[in-house]
C-alpha cells in the first residue's frame, strides 16, 4: 500500500512541477526580458510586480473561442497541441532531482528514453502545420521538421559522450558517476547539447520556424485559446526539461558544495540559472536564417560532437 502511495505522490509531484515550473520560467522571461530592454514588464496582475500575469493569461486563454479554420483537418488540428505537450510531461518523470531516489521514476535507459520521447513532440508542430491548411503554417511545419532533423543528431552525440564518461545511460547513474573535472572534460559536449536543445525547442535565436516577421507564428498561426496556450506551455516545459537535462548530464545535478541534504536545491539552482541563460540568449541574439541554422548544425555542432566523443573515449580508456 505504501508503494502505491509512493507512486501516487511521485505522480502528483511531477504533474505539479510540470504545471508550475513552466509558468515560473515564463514569468521570469517576462521580467528579465523587460529589464534587459530597459522596461519593467508586467506590473499589475496580482499586485506585486505582476507576479500573476501568466495566471491572468491562462484565464484569458480559457475564455477565448476555439476557432478551427473551415479548411483545416479538424481532428488532427485539435489533437496537435496535446501531441506536442505530453512528451515533456513524460520526460519530466525520468529527471533526477536529488540523490537516493529523489526522482519521479528511475529508468534504466533513462537518457535514451528522454531523447527518444522529446523527439516525438515535434510531431505536434508538424501536425499543426499541416492540418491548419494555411500557407504560413505549412512553411512553419516544414521548417520545424528540418530543424529537428538538423539538431537531433548533435544532441544524440553530446548525450552519447556523457553516457561514455559515466558508463551508464541511467540518469541518476550518470549523476552518481559525476566528478567536478567532468565539467572541463565535457565542456564542448555540454555546449553542443545546450545549443542543439535550444534549436529543438525553437527558442530564439533558432526560432526560424515561428519567425513572426515572415510566417506570422509558423505552425501555430491558426491556433487560439486553450490550444494555443498548450503550445506555449509545451515550449516552456521544454525549456525546463532542457535545462534540467543539461544540469543532470553536464553540470553534475545535485553535486555541489554543502550538498549534504540539499542536493535537490543544487539541481534546481543550476536549472534555474540555465533557464536564465535561455532567456538571456533570446534577448541578445537576432534570429538565424534558415540556411545558417542548417549550416551551424551540420558544419559546427556535429563535428564538435564527434570530436567530443573521440576525446571522451580516449580519456576514458587512458584513465581506466
Amino acid at each position: 500500500m505504501s508503494g502505491t502511495l509512493d507512486v501516487v505522490l511521485r505522480l502528483v509531484a511531477v504533474l505539479v512541477a510540470f504545471l508550475v515550473l513552466p509558468l515560473v520560467v515564463g514569468q521570469t522571461e517576462h521580467k528579465v526580458m523587460a529589464h534587459m530592454q530597459g522596461r519593467l514588464g508586467p506590473m499589475y496582475a496580482g499586485g506585486f510586480h505582476g507576479w500573476a500575469q501568466l495566471v491572468a493569461d491562462g484565464v484569458k486563454f480559457a475564455q477565448k473561442e476555439d476557432v478551427v479554420p473551415a479548411g483545416a483537418d479538424r481532428r488532427v488540428f485539435q489533437l496537435a497541441p496535446a501531441v506536442s505537450l505530453l512528451p515533456y510531461l513524460l520526460v519530466l518523470i525520468a529527471i533526477p532531482v536529488g540523490p537516493n531516489g529523489l526522482v519521479g521514476q528511475a529508468i534504466d535507459a533513462g537518457l535514451f528514453f528522454v531523447l527518444a520521447v522529446m523527439g516525438v513532440g515535434v510531431l505536434g508542430s508538424i501536425m499543426a502545420g499541416w492540418a491548419s491548411a494555411n500557407k504560413f503554417s505549412l512553411l512553419g511545419g516544414l521548417r520545424t521538421a528540418a530543424q529537428l532533423m538538423a539538431y537531433e543528431l548533435p544532441m544524440l552525440l553530446a548525450a552519447g559522450s556523457v553516457a561514455m564518461a559515466a558508463g551508464t545511460i541511467s540518469l541518476p547513474g550518470i549523476v552518481q558517476a559525476f566528478h567536478w573535472w567532468w565539467i572541463p572534460w565535457q565542456l564542448i559536449g555540454g555546449l553542443v547539447f545546450f545549443t542543439a536543445g535550444l534549436a529543438e525547442l525553437q527558442r530564439p535565436p533558432f526560432d526560424m520556424p515561428v519567425a513572426d516577421s515572415e510566417i506570422i507564428f509558423g505552425a501555430y498561426t491558426e491556433y487560439t485559446g486553450l490550444r494555443f496556450a498548450l503550445f506555449l506551455l509545451a515550449e516552456y516545459a521544454g525549456i525546463v526539461v532542457l535545462c534540467a537535462l543539461t544540469t543532470v548530464l553536464f553540470l553534475g545535478g545535485w553535486h555541489g558544495p554543502l550538498s549534504g541534504s540539499f542536493g535537490w536545491l543544487w539541481t534546481l539552482v543550476k536549472t534555474a540559472l540555465l533557464a536564465f541563460v535561455v532567456i538571456w540568449l533570446r534577448v541578445t541574439y537576432p534570429r538565424l536564417r534558415e540556411d545558417q541554422l542548417q549550416k551551424l548544425a551540420w558544419t559546427v555542432l556535429i563535428p564538435l560532437g564527434l570530436a567530443q566523443i573521440a576525446l571522451t573515449g580516449i580519456v576514458k580508456v587512458v584513465i581506466s
Binding site: A62, L85, L86, L90, G101, N134
Partner: protein, 144 residues
Amino acid sequence: MATVASADAVGGVRGAADAYLAAGYYHAYSVVGLVAVVGVLFVAVAFAAGHLLRPVVPTREKMLTYECGVDPVGEGWAQTQIRYYVYSFLYVIFAVDAIYLFPWATVFAAPGFGGTTLVEMFVFIGFLAVGLLYAWKKGVLEWT
C-alpha cells in the same frame, strides 16, 4: 506486479549490470505508463473545461484561413523546391549511426573491452565522419 522502491532500481543500475531485475523494470515502465495516462487525462480535462468556458460564435469570416487580413488565394499547398530535404536523409542515416553509441558507451570501458572496442567505435565513427566530409565537399551543406 511487484513494486520496488526506485532507490533499489538506482542501486541496481549502479551495481552489476545483471542485477537489474525485470520486476523493477516493469515497475518503472508502469509508472511511465501511468504518467502518460495522467497526461492524457490532464489534456482531456483541460479541453473539456475549455469547452464549457469558452464562447462558440462561429462566423464565416472567422473561419477563413488567416493570411494577414487578405482573403486567401489558392490552397495551402504549392510546389516549391526545398533544399533542406537532403538534410533529412542525412539525419536518418546519421541517427542510425549515433544510436549505436549508447550500448557501446555503457560497455566500452568495462573490463574485457577497453582499447579494442574503442578502436572499433572509432572505425565506425570514422566512416560516419567520412560521410559527413563527403557531403560537405559535395556542397550539400551549402545553401547557395
